[in-house]
């Protein structure tokens, strides 16, 4: 196999998984454009895993770009900054694409805005040094914390907890996740192609903070330009690039670790249990920006793509911008657009209210057409086992679905329902069109509810 004999221990792939159509062509060649300063943003108070922030601002208060507007005393949380200068409107409950309701700070633009080329230069341009000796590990983590950085690959776990010199276990490897295994999405790819230097800077800084020995950047083989760009930018450093097999869900933390260093994260455990930290490339660029330029996480690159969008683009957009503004910037929806997703088609959330705000963890907006989502009606489970062959966690999805349907919680536990990460591989291959992931989600929710009651 072509994936062996590379300079890392893993086989470059993992067991099972699926091969959904890649469909990266919609947006892959679109350059990153800065969104013109918006007239308003809506900043939800919790955009991360952990404790929600409390608002530090009041209605009618004036805020400037970069001001801290939300924070929490809790350890696991991430502070919020104003992405635009303006005046705070009201703080009211809003709904996010994932269905969660939470308070959000509404800011109307006022005054001079930081935008356009100036913002582009500040975020993406200029020189990014590979020299990190001048930094102190504590400084790096403090900068990450001050910038409110969370995992930008989707999980939105506060990064200062992960990239920190104070971890209980000594880690040896930092894996930078450049897989972007979700179909359609190309934001990480674009970042690696256009500004690989930031990725390298950020990775070196993160390694410094962790005190780890190795950095391996994992990229799926369907991104040859990104691989070449990162390799070139990494010249002169000890950073290795792991070329991985294009397979879904290669970008899942556990599967990436398996593919790159051939270690298995214990069930219910964390990457640190196998001496590894994993960070997404977009997160890594945010770390570089925060440490080197002191920029808070107020903007991110979003990929707006799919056959349902007139001009798929990569947009450097403020957090809190409405999906509508992003879609309009891309020429709007096509007449046959049928489903708008925050995220990609395998794990993204469908929503209809385009005025919902973009959160930190969302790197893509995918618009599918009627043809894309054509689905046969659900038929009986034939117990064919295709879901078993697809499940990267090595579960039996059809049994989990039966358990959820019959509210049979002991059965669900027996078949390890909690191990499911809802990647969607099973439902993608199911010939009977059974909503396996949805049923498993229901099952998990029931287990959570019953254990909360106890």
């Amino acid at each position: 196999m072509a994936f062996k004999n590379q300079e890392f221990e893993g086989k470059g792939t993992f067991h099972r998984g699926v091969h959904p159509p890649e469909r990266k062509h919609f947006s892959a060649d679109a350059p990153i454009e800065a969104l013109p300063a918006p007239s308003e943003v809506l900043i939800p108070l919790q955009q991360h895993i952990g404790a929600p922030c409390k608002s530090l601002v009041k209605p009618k208060q004036e805020v400037a770009y970069g001001d801290v507007i939300g924070d929490s005393d809790a350890m696991i949380s991430a502070r919020l900054h104003a992405p635009i200068s303006g005046i705070v409107q009201k703080i009211a409950v809003t709904t996010l694409p994932n269905g969660r309701h939470m308070e959000a700070i509404h800011i109307k633009a006022a005054g001079i805005q930081f935008t356009g080329d100036q913002m582009r230069r500040e975020f993406l341009g200029g020189r990014w040094s590979k020299e990190v000796v001048g930094y102190d590990p504590d400084d790096v983590t403090r900068a990450i914390n001050d910038a409110g950085i969370v995992g930008l690959g989707g999980a939105a776990f506060p990064t200062h907890i992960k990239i920190s010199p104070f971890l209980k276990k000594k880690l040896d490897t930092l894996i930078v996740n450049g897989c972007e295994c979700e179909p359609y999405l190309t934001a990480d790819d674009r970042l690696m192609r256009d500004i690989p230097e930031i990725v390298i800077s950020g990775a070196l800084l993160s390694r410094l903070a962790l005190g780890a020995d190795n950095i391996i950047i994992g990229i799926e083989e369907n991104k040859p330009e990104a691989i070449a760009a990162i390799r070139k930018a990494a010249g002169g450093t000890t950073i290795k690039v792991a070329v991985l097999k294009t397979k879904y869900p290669q970008g899942s933390e556990k599967h990436l670790i398996k593919a790159v260093v051939n270690r298995t994260v214990p069930l219910g455990g964390l990457p640190s249990d196998v001496k590894v930290a994993v960070s997404n490339v977009t997160t890594i660029t945010a770390v570089a920006r925060a440490v080197i330029r002191g920029l808070p996480l107020t903007h991110r690159v979003v990929c707006v793509t799919g056959a349902g969008i007139h001009q798929p683009k990569h947009i450097l957009a403020p957090i809190g911008i409405s999906y509508r503004a992003l879609i309009e910037f891309c020429g709007g929806l096509t007449p046959d657009a049928a489903r708008v997703l925050s995220g990609g088609p395998m794990m993204g959330f469908a929503f209809t209210d385009l005025d919902m705000p973009l959160t930190k963890g969302t790197g893509g907006v995918t618009v599918l057409t009627r043809d894309d989502i054509k689905k046969a009606t659900e038929t009986a489970c034939l117990r064919c086992g295709k879901c078993v062959d697809a499940c990267p966690m090595n579960l039996v999805p059809s049994r989990l679905a039966v358990a959820a349907r019959h509210r049979d919680m002991p059965l669900a536990e027996k078949y390890k329902i909690r191990a499911c990460m809802e990647c969607g591989s099973c439902a993608y291959v199911c010939p009977a069109g059974i909503p396996l992931v949805q049923l498993i989600r229901v099952g998990k929710a029931m287990i959570m509810a019953s254990s909360a009651r106890k």
């Binding site: 699926v18 959904p20 159509p21 179909p183 556990k254 298995t264 994260v265 214990p266 069930l267 219910g268 455990g269 309009e328 020429g331 709007g332 929806l333 096509t334 007449p335 046959d336 657009a337 049928a338 489903r339 708008v340 997703l341 088609p345 395998m346 794990m347 993204g348 469908a350 209210d353 995918t366 599918l368 894309d372 989502i373 046969a376 038929t379 009986a380 034939l382 117990r383 064919c384 086992g385 295709k386 078993v388 990267p392 090595n394 039996v396 059809s398 049994r399 390890k416 191990a419 969607g424 591989s425 439902a427 993608y428 291959v429 010939p431 009977a432 069109g433 992931v437 949805q438 989600r441």
Partner: protein
Amino acid sequence: MTETPDFIEPIDNTPIEPPSLIQVGHSPHLSHASCSTQRMMMDVLIALIPVTGMAVYIFRLYAIKQIAICLAVCLIAEAVFVKMRGRSFSLTDGSAAITGIILGLSLPGPAPWYVGVIASVVAIGIGKVIFGGLGMNLFNPAMVGRAFVMISFAGIMAASGYESAVSGIDAITQATPLNAFKQMGISTPLKDLFFGFTNGSPGETSALACLIGGIFLCIRRTASWEIPAGIIGTVLVMGGLADLTGSPSGWTALHHLFSGSLLFGAFFIATDPVTSPMTSKGKLIFGAGVGFFIMILRFFSGYPEGVMFAVLLMNAVTPLINNWTIPKAMGE
């Protein structure tokens, strides 16, 4: 479901107001295009073409009669029973047609028409619909129907029922290879077993046709390769051991493999996903179990052949196998 109104594209370039035509759904939002139950059933029907072709070529009207009766009655029975149970129309899924063809291919050519009718009604009614229809049955429907008539019409369905001296077809005037060996110790040349110019159930005689259809099914992943692999492996091992220990009878492991309904059963009957285990390991165990019981029945029972009972037996064990082979989650 509400119909979305026809959409008129605006002349100017203003973004389109979406909510009326944007729908929600749960992830994943894509599904594997070439993967559906109907497609799997179609694969089985395609895979049955060589077998059916050889059956008709060798047994002529005998084969046509049995297949036609079983197919027609299975379809009618499915429609009637499903209606009686108040379920939705299910003929389009193709499963009743497959049961009918497999059943027709597994009955002796000379058996009278009512045997096929009764077998079909039992297969669909008791074998499948009573359990709740497709996907719910414990036992392979076609084998339930066949077992029923085998016990009800012991004479017609016995090995001698395959023979008819008055038949114009050569194959039918002879004893079946397995019976000829069991009763008289006569072994049929491997070449005849392989191509299928011997007596037997219409679908089973040609090992070649079964292999062609079966390998197609495995390549299409409609049938799991683990099941036929388990069966064939076990039969070869047990047959080989018998070759090594027993008297030189001329009936080798390869004769076991190519004779009777072994390959037909291995590729078309045992691979029924509904009645076989779900995990790869479970499928191998299931296949090995079927192979083991086939050989035990062939060696020691009064019947010359054992595929049907072996499959039914292992069908009964399938829930247990599923329970034994719950895979370990990653990192567990």
